[in-house]
């Protein structure tokens, strides 16, 4: 089968990092990612199934990996070589369609009894992601044993699979995983009725968060910071009340919250700031616009950042991470994707052999008026499958 393979190669990591500093996405040309002919991964044991991807999205964390910008924190919890791709709608051998829940938690790793987090249903926080009968890997797409979505086939444990309703298009289904992240962020944050919520960033995660906020909580005002015109249009369409350019967010929050300002810091501010960017600037911005005792929810994947935490300390701000989801998050994510018709966020589809173009497009999605870029594997060569019924 054909797959995009990401191998451990320090010189290529370095090359990807240098290339991406020139232009995001360039890591795909010089880094450790290549199109390869591989054997299909073996089923690790009972309860595992082969999945043939139909659409596989390119996520911000994938781009960070390809460009060599991921945090070194992840090194012990991934295994090389791996096939990226964790936003997947695929097809089982019986022809049924599934969405992948990529976290490789205790159930998939054959660990019984499960860890406390898995036992509590918070499998995103699994404490055994480097253990069990699989190689380390926090998710499918970062594990050497399972393969990933950027290929013609990978394997998944039955605990990772969610059946796609017959009337749901593949484009909608591929948005379920990112939406599950947004749903989890909203559901795990105490958002009071009438609260002022700011969403920083209006890429896939930001837009999904806005849609989830409007459908799963009762915020008073949702303010979104969006860099590009199409993002601003979509943010408004999905339910943001105020949509401004990133450099206007602080002024918008100040005015909406009738706050004063001291230097760069608002005296009041938003009740909740959801940071869907996850870089130094966005975190600093979040700290400057959140109210005392307010909450910053970090949804975008961060790396090493240098941020002055004095306001966090002095204003008793809560900074909480929001990673993946609970298993029960997915049914809600399906509903929100359907209700908000989020398949429209899928802007372009590429075959695997045009992966460099695809990654370049994804790295510049906002500027090019796009949101979600995905690989279309429906036309890739595949064996005859047995249809249900």
């Amino acid at each position: 089968m054909r797959a995009l393979l990401f191998e451990r190669s320090l010189p290529r990591f370095a090359a990807a990092r240098v290339a991406s500093s020139v232009a995001p996405g360039r890591g795909s040309r010089f880094g450790p990612l290549r199109l390869a002919q591989l054997d299909e991964p073996a089923l690790p044991g009972p309860g595992w199934q082969r999945v043939r991807p139909r659409l596989a999205g390119i996520c911000g964390s994938d781009l960070a990996t390809v460009d060599g910008r991921s945090s070194r924190y992840f090194e012990p919890i991934v295994s090389f070589p791996f096939v990226p791709g964790h936003e997947v709608v695929g097809e089982l051998d019986d022809g049924s369609r599934v969405v992948l829940e990529p976290v490789l938690a205790c159930a998939a790793r054959g660990i019984d009894p499960p860890c406390d987090s898995c036992a509590a249903g918070t499998n995103g926080n699994c404490e055994r992601i480097a253990f069990g009968h699989l190689e380390p890997g926090l998710q499918t797409g970062y594990c050497a044993d399972t393969g990933g979505g950027w290929s013609e086939a990978f394997v998944a444990h039955q605990s990772q699979l969610h059946t796609v309703p017959a009337d749901m298009a593949d484009e909608d289904a591929v948005m379920v995983e990112p939406m599950a992240c947004a749903v989890h962020a909203v559901q795990s944050t105490e958002i009071g009725e009438g609260a002022t919520v700011v969403v920083l960033g209006a890429g896939t995660l930001g837009l999904c968060t806005i849609a989830a906020l409007r459908r799963l909580a009762l915020p008073g005002v949702v303010i979104a910071g969006a860099k590009h015109p199409d993002q601003r249009r979509l943010a408004t369409d999905l339910g943001a009340d105020v949509v401004v350019e990133p450099d206007q967010v602080q002024r918008a929050v100040r005015r909406r919250t009738a706050s004063l300002a001291v230097g760069r810091q608002l005296t009041g501010g938003a009740d909740i700031v959801v940071d869907c960017v996850g870089n130094q600037a966005s975190l600093a911005e979040a700290l400057s616009i959140v109210r005392p005792r307010g909450t910053i929810v970090l949804v975008g994947m961060p790396g090493p950042v240098l941020v002055d935490l004095a306001p966090l300390w002095q204003r008793e701000v809560r900074l909480v991470g929001s990673y993946t989801y609970r298993h029960q998050t997915f049914p809600t994510a399906f509903e929100v994707v359907h209700a908000a018709a989020l398949g429209r966020l899928v802007s372009a589809l590429y075959p695997l052999d045009r992966y460099r173009e695809a990654i370049d497009h994804a790295a510049h999605a906002g500027r090019r008026g796009a949101v979600k870029i995905a690989f279309d594997l429906r036309k890739e060569a595949r064996p005859e499958v047995r249809r249900m019924g």
């Binding site: 105020v242 401004v244 350019e245 206007q248 002024r251 918008a252 100040r254 005015r255 009738a258 706050s259 004063l260 300002a261």
Partner: protein
């Protein structure tokens, strides 16, 4: 009443033909020469009327010989009385005039008389309304060092704080239900002396006290979309709803027993210093020196960084000269003042035009020593210059206004903080003045941050950008389109206007609205003129 009389050439309407040289357009801190199509008209302002030969003598004469039902000023002054002298703020005149400023001359004369009468309770108030506070340097320029040093150190030179409930007094409502709230110090004085500069016909009269000393609570009754849309125009008091409301308030103030001694002055249109003399000459009369100056100045300015160019222009001090001064009862004084303004600025124009063009200069009443932000560009063109008419607008209903200005997306963060939010957040949502008024005005007007900055910094009040947009309401209602030539396209579009790169492009775009072979009229201002459209 003292008026300078000597004949100068009146305003003039030129019909452009093949021999007509290119026409000068202001373009912010730059100039452009544009060749207008044959058959276009260019309206030139009258030449500057001669100045009063003895301005101090004229002021004294006016104070001793008041108009209307008023006694001479010395008769109104006596020991033990409470006297408040109010004066127009930094927004007048434009550009700021060379020293000594008219206000200094008038106030010194009033203070001399007050001293002679033994008045020792005297307070000066800068009539800011909701404008920004003036800096010490600006106050010294307007009042002179002698007045400043005599009053400021003792806290007797104040600036209106319309958001301080302790210093404002509600005087009830007019017959039309309009709240009248003005400075408590002024309202409780035995006499208010108001020192005005009437740059355009809109200024002065009851507007001086009823607006200059008023709070938002009072101003909102006439600074609103309905009033602006029902004024035809602001330069014609009798057809201006803005003035009707101010007059009702002024009469209510008088009915409350508050005495106002109004001193109004008019200026000639000697607007620019000698090195910019070409700006006041008609192009076909330019001398070789004028042409050389134009070329030198415009080429230099094209290479000058915007910030430096702004700084150069803002340092211009106008050689404005006093053309008349009159004092006494408000309405009688203002009647004469208005006639004097008309005498200087009125130009008869036959008929309206399909397309009106204008070049917008670097300055308007609200960016002295500041940045001409896009909202002020709109206000200068659509609010002020468009309304420089009597009778009917120079451009026909459904016609197109073409303005020239670089219109940068730039704001002065200290002077115009609420403008930034208005531009970013309000205009991004709608440009409809009525919708803006109903949806956003109150929030901005009562925003504690803007109030804090207005009171303690040098910021225009939070509601001020709304008023700027409301000034445009009549034009927006009347026009079929607005095109800005040479402006920042993004900023221009944000305001709902169309950007054009060249005047030729703009004229072609305008034809899509008004039809082929349109009539075109260019308003050659400043210096200021009022089109008396027949």
């Amino acid at each position: 009443m003292q008026v300078a009389r000597r004949s100068t050439r009146p305003g003039f309407v030129l019909n452009v033909d093949r021999s007509t040289p290119p026409t000068l357009f202001w373009h912010g801190e730059q100039y452009r020469l544009e060749r207008l199509p044959t058959g276009s008209r260019v309206v030139y302002p009258p030449e500057a009327l001669p100045a009063l030969e003895d301005p101090d003598g004229a002021i004294r004469h006016a104070l001793l010989n008041p108009l209307g039902d008023s006694q001479p000023l010395p008769s109104l002054l006596h020991g033990g009385m409470k006297l408040t002298i109010c004066f127009d703020d930094i927004s007048l005149p434009l550009p700021p005039m060379q020293r000594p400023d008219i206000r200094q001359r008038v106030i010194e004369a009033v203070l001399d008389m007050a001293a002679e009468a033994g008045v020792d309770d005297v307070v000066l108030i800068a009539a800011l309304a909701l404008h920004r506070r003036m800096t010490e340097q600006e106050l010294r320029h307007a009042l002179g060092d002698r007045v400043y040093d005599a009053f400021a150190p003792h806290g007797l030179l104040t600036q209106l704080d319309a958001e301080d409930p302790e210093t404002m007094l509600h005087l009830g409502t007019t017959d039309a239900g309009e709240d009248v709230e003005i400075s408590k110090r002024a309202a409780t004085s035995d006499l208010i002396v108001y020192v005005n500069i009437n740059l355009v016909a809109m200024d002065g009269g009851h507007k001086s006290v009823a607006t200059g000393l008023a709070s938002y609570r009072s101003l909102r009754h006439h600074h609103n979309v309905r009033t602006m849309q029902q004024s035809r125009s602001f330069m014609d008091q009798h057809k201006s709803e803005l003035h009707s409301s101010n007059w009702r308030m002024g009469r209510h103030i008088a009915a409350c027993g508050i005495k106002v001694f109004q001193i109004e002055t008019t200026l000639n249109t000697n607007t620019f210093p000698e090195q910019f003399a070409f700006l006041q000459r008609r192009e076909w009369e330019w001398t070789a020196r004028d042409r050389a100056t134009y070329l030198g100045v415009s080429k230099s300015l094209d290479r000058t960084p915007p910030r430096l160019a702004r700084s150069i222009f803002q340092s211009i001090r106008s050689p404005h000269q006093m053309q008349s001064v009159q004092a006494g009862e408000v309405e009688a004084v203002h009647e004469v003042t208005t006639q004097n303004v008309y005498r200087q600025q009125l130009v008869e124009v036959q008929g309206q035009t399909d397309i009106l063009t204008m070049g917008l200069p670097y300055i308007c009443p609200y960016n002295v020593n500041s940045i001409m932000n896009p909202i002020l560009v709109a206000c200068l063109g659509l609010g002020y210059f468009f309304n420089l008419y009597r009778g009917k607008p120079l451009v026909r209903e459904g016609g197109v206004l073409i303005m020239r200005h670089p219109t940068p997306w730039a704001f002065h963060p200290v002077h115009h903080p609420s403008y930034i939010d208005f531009f970013e957040q309000v205009l991004a949502e709608t440009t409809d003045p009525l919708e803006i008024e109903s949806k956003f005005e109150e929030g901005f007007a009562t925003d504690p941050w803007y109030i804090h900055l207005y009171r303690t910094s040098y910021a225009y009040h939070g509601v001020h950008p709304f008023y700027m947009w409301y000034w445009c309401a009549h034009a927006l209602q009347h026009l079929g389109g607005v095109i800005l030539v040479g402006g920042d396209a993004k900023a221009v579009r944000r305001m709902g206007f169309k950007p054009a790169s060249t005047m030729r492009d703009a004229l072609e775009m305008a034809e899509d609205v008004v039809g082929r072979d349109p009539s075109i009229t260019h308003m050659h201002t400043p210096p200021l003129l009022i089109a008396d459209v027949k």
